[in-house]
């Protein structure tokens, strides 16, 4: 047992393992880059860099590979055990120790970003305001309930909870306070609703004469419109089947035990933590062209009773409450001179936003120390020989 432990420790801390992991990271980066000829950036990120295992299509052969997530996790252990804990301590290894600590910080920052960051956008016309931003790619299923005071409460299930649901293995979503459970039976990554005609059959449920027709997935994930079939099951009652679509004009509304509920399939939403109101949007075109040279937005950040005017422009984002809001785009692109324009802000919440900068500083200091010391030793030796 002790021998096995020693063996594992030796393997985990070995330079050979480091080399294998770095080669794998290079391979995944190369394969992920090639994959972008067939898939969009988001899908490639999920498949190659946020996964633990993946299957890469080498022509006729599918080859299982470790995902970058797994490779970096093992690399972290390898660095901690081999590059820090088991490293010989002394003046000669101080620089290496500091550089390794910087790499550990870099890996930690990527983990924090993966687990705890959110990215999305807020789009507002002048006079509009928002309390949340929404994802470009990710969907969520929301159960909405009108409370006694008229306020609407929502409970949500992120995409991972139901995206692999099938009629044989439905995803069951529930909450203790709800008198029903929701079963997701079909999920379509990209689809459109159509009326069912008598001259053709479909292999999905038809609800009120309407069904969802699956479409080929667009390479760019944000262009896909998801759909789902759901069943609302309450005890002692026949299940009700509803059809949800990502571009529906209203959620599917139904009544259970005298209270009204609704189900909505929508892009994942994240609370801003404040109210963002667009007061004014300005754009300046290139001379004699309908192409924007610069554009900026005057917004008001409302937190409780406090109001703060801020101008967000292309190179001057708003940083507040752990969020960064960038001036991303505007539209409609075909608007005439008199048409109102909307302003879109890209929103990023990343608690480890500045960690990569600090890790680069730490790695640089370690390397400068290490190579500086080696250079000094070399110079001393050369001078001594002279």
């Amino acid at each position: 047992m002790r021998r096995a432990g020693e063996l594992a420790l030796r393997g985990l801390s070995s330079l050979g393992l480091s080399c294998v992991l770095l080669v794998l990271l290079g391979l995944l980066t190369w394969l992920g880059t090639l994959e972008q000829t067939r898939s969009g950036l988001y899908e490639v990120q999920r498949k190659y860099f946020e996964s633990f295992v993946l299957s890469h299509d080498f022509g006729p052969v599918e080859v299982p590979l470790p995902g970058a997530n797994l490779v970096m996790s093992v690399l972290l252990v390898n660095l901690l055990v081999g590059g820090i804990v088991r490293l010989r301590r002394g003046a000669a290894t101080v620089g290496v120790l500091v550089a390794h600590s910087g790499i550990v910080l870099l890996l930690a920052s990527s983990f924090v970003k993966w687990r705890h960051s959110s990215e999305g956008h807020v789009t507002l016309y002048e006079g509009q305001r928002a309390t949340h931003f929404q994802s470009y790619q990710r969907w969520e299923l929301a159960v909405l309930e009108v409370g006694d005071d008229g306020r609407v409460l929502e409970r949500v299930a992120p995409q991972e909870r139901y995206e692999h649901a099938t009629p044989d293995a439905p995803a069951v979503l529930r909450a203790d306070e709800l008198p029903f459970e929701v079963r997701v039976t079909h999920v379509l990554a990209n689809c459109s609703p159509l009326p069912k005609g008598p001259m053709f059959d479909v292999d999905v449920p038809v609800v009120d004469g309407v069904f969802l027709r699956e479409r080929a997935r667009d390479k760019e994930t944000e262009r896909n419109i998801a759909g789902a079939y759901v069943e609302v099951r309450e005890s002692g009652a026949t299940p009700r089947v509803g059809v949800l679509w990502g571009a529906q004009s209203a959620p599917w509304s139904f009544e259970v035990a005298g209270r009204r509920y609704a189900l909505d399939l929508r892009k994942e939403r994240y609370p801003l933590g404040f109210t963002l109101a667009l007061a004014d949007f300005r754009k300046e075109d290139h001379p004699r062209m309908n192409m924007a040279r610069a554009f900026e937005s005057d917004v008001e950040v409302r937190e409780g009773a406090a109001k703060r005017p801020v101008t967000i422009s292309m190179n001057a984002p708003l940083r507040t409450g752990g969020l960064v809001l960038y001036q991303a785009s505007w539209g409609p692109s075909n608007a005439r001179a008199s048409d109102p324009l909307f302003s879109t802000f890209a929103v990023v919440r990343n608690p480890a936003d500045s960690w990569p900068l600090w890790s680069c500083v730490v790695i640089s200091l370690g390397l400068v120390w290490h190579f500086g010391r080696m250079l000094a030793r070399h110079v001393r030796r050369e001078v001594g020989l002279a």
Binding site: S14, P66, V74, L173, A175, P195, V210, Q248
Partner: protein
């Protein structure tokens, strides 16, 4: 003490860790929904129930035209049902549309000869499936993909529709009104935005002189 080679130990450790980490990614069901939070969705969107078609923005099939007939005895005459217009071939008569037949005609020369236009959402089941279905109605075997690809096209509704012309024994939907020595001439316009089918069936001897009129009718269809 014998030890595993250095590289073997590294790879073994990596493989064990791979399996251990990937095994942790399975999810259990059922899943708990998140804790309730206030929504920005207005209560009115929930309190007002809507049909699936209304919520999903699905259009109903084109509305049926008034239950009236129009006949053309001499030269072609203009006809239409509000949404569509056409030039009615000489000797043909308009029949009342049905829930499926947006435009419905009796072909000159025989009461059993008919022609009608159908719209379906999406691709209406697809070009090949509809051609094979019509082949079956004529008691014929299916066409190969190469034969379908080689079919000619004719203009209809602003697009190039695929023209088919089959001879055989016709038995339509429901098996009623079987016609021996029949002919089926049809145009199929199938695209992602919708499908249109103009189909003429009847005794082969009657339709022999009506194919040009059929094509002229197809070319005259307009909004």
């Amino acid at each position: 003490m014998p030890t595993l080679p250095f590289r073997t130990g590294s790879l073994l450790t990596f493989a064990v860790l791979s399996l251990a980490v990937s095994a942790c990614s399975d999810r259990a069901q059922p899943s708990e929904l998140s804790a309730p939070r206030e929504s920005s969705t207005p209560a009115a969107a929930i309190e007002q129930p809507r049909s699936s078609a209304e919520r999903l923005g699905v259009q109903a099939p084109p509305a049926a035209a008034p239950n009236a007939t129009n006949a053309s005895n001499g030269a072609p005459t203009s006809g239409g049902n509000g949404a569509l217009k056409w030039e009615l071939p000489a000797g043909w008569s308009e029949l009342a549309p049905t829930s499926m037949r947006v435009a419905n005609f009796r072909v000159a020369g025989d009461e059993r000869a008919e022609c009608y236009l159908t719209f379906l959402a999406g691709d209406g089941g697809g070009l090949a499936a509809n051609i094979q279905r019509w082949r079956t109605q004529m008691g014929q075997g299916p066409l190969s993909p190469q034969e379908i690809a080689a079919l000619p096209t004719k203009p209809m509704l602003g697009g190039e529709a695929v023209l088919v012309d089959f001879a055989g024994s016709f038995s339509g939907m429901g098996g009623g009104g079987k016609i021996e020595d029949a002919r089926l001439v049809g145009l199929l316009l199938v695209g992602p935005q919708g499908a249109a089918f103009l189909k003429m069936t009847g005794p082969a001897s009657t339709l022999a002189g009506q194919v040009d009129a059929f094509l002229a009718l197809a070319a005259s269809l307009r909004n």
